[in-house]
Symmetry: C2
Subunit: 203 residues, 2 copies
DNA sequence: TTTTGAACATTTAAAAGAATTAGTCAAGGT
DNA sequence: ACCTTGACTAATTCTTTTAAATGTTCAAAA
């Protein structure tokens, strides 16, 4: 029974998440995390092979939590537009709460494209698949008409990334550190975008 | 009569454009530009106050050329979707030919947000206005129904930025140096995007 | 199996110096 | 007065070096 190990891993994840979300990946040390848990640095390496794995595990933990909430929502409501809005909102909430967690991913992106493909790519895939799932609901209900669901889901995802990039660029305060207002603005644009997009797919 | 001055400025712009487009802003020196024109570096500063102004002037020169072509197209065809496609295509051509010219703008963006607002912001504005103009054609013809044209144009622009960002991220070769294939892929996605978007605005 | 302190290795940060390049100026040519 | 220039200065970028911080390993102990 590996139960004990799992509990400990969960504790580590919890603490690491707090630090990562607050100060970002770069500015939290393994020593700090260990100290928070009041045990030795070396022990961290007993449970996680390296810092990067720990980071990825935290990401996975956080993202899965959200995905699950989304899936649950999908069970209840079969309304395509509402479902998409819900996804947008929970994504945004997640980013607000754990901004520095993702900040690292974004900036790491631009520097180590090779590595990040394996650790960050999956999250994009998950987001894409979620969109695809929602679109499929619309198609099955005969509400929407789309030839290639996968590709359309990707389009939708990219368009929403664009909203973020667009706002961040034109605000251009400390670039890459969206203010709360920025988040609201991004969400607002994304919603409008989705609205038009879905309308454009109506059968 | 400032004719002579204008001719010289034009010559400088022409040469500077070639170098910037080839090697980018950072890796072309004022000395090189001067040498290409076979006159002294100091003379450049007689016609342009500094390097940044020269760069901006080149950008303006290049972008205006494209905008004008677009406006001409608009005179002929009043078809909204075709007009948008034309804009996308000419934008992409421009980027293919002068990639490093824009590359600098993008990367400068993320570092000196304050400065770039004045030198790069106007180009975004122009693009936005062009989209707005096209959308207005559709509205005037009664084809489209949009409440806020300015905002919708912005949405469209951002969405297209997203296509670029999205493709560049998932290709992740040497990040930020799109291959010719990438350009094609981006254009393809952008066209699909526009298609759906316009359909979503149909009256 | 789990935990640790101490040692090791790798990354980052800062400082100093050299080299490149942006930008200025007084003077000369037209 | 309008152009043009070479030589000068100032600012920036590029190396190199060094020191510090931090990630990672490991033998030994609980």
């Amino acid at each position: 029974m590996a139960k004990n190990v799992d509990i400990k891993r969960a504790k580590i994840l919890e603490v690491a998440k707090r630090r990562f979300a607050h100060f970002g990946m770069a500015k939290t040390t393994m020593a700090e995390i260990a100290k928070d848990l009041s045990f030795s640095k070396a022990l961290l390496y007993y449970y996680f092979p390296d810092k990067h794995s720990l980071y990825t595990a935290v990401m996975e933990y956080v993202v899965n939590e959200m995905i699950q909430k989304n899936e649950e929502f999908l069970e209840k409501s079969q309304d395509v537009e509402k479902a998409l809005m819900f996804v947008l909102e929970s994504r945004m909430d997640l980013m607000k709460e754990n901004y520095n967690l993702f900040e690292y991913s974004s900036s790491f992106f631009m520097q180590n494209p090779g590595e990040v493909g394996k650790s960050l790519g999956p999250f994009f895939e998950k987001a894409k698949e979620l969109f695809a799932k929602i679109l499929k609901i619309g198609v099955d209900k005969g509400e929407l008409q789309v030839d290639d669901i996968q590709e359309t889901a990707e389009l939708l995802l990219f368009a929403q990334m664009g909203m973020k990039a667009g706002i961040l660029n034109q605000e251009m305060n400390d670039c890459f550190f969206p203010s709360p207002d920025d988040f609201d603005m991004i969400l607002h644009k994304q919603k409008k975008m989705v609205s038009i997009f879905v309308r454009g797919l109506k059968a």
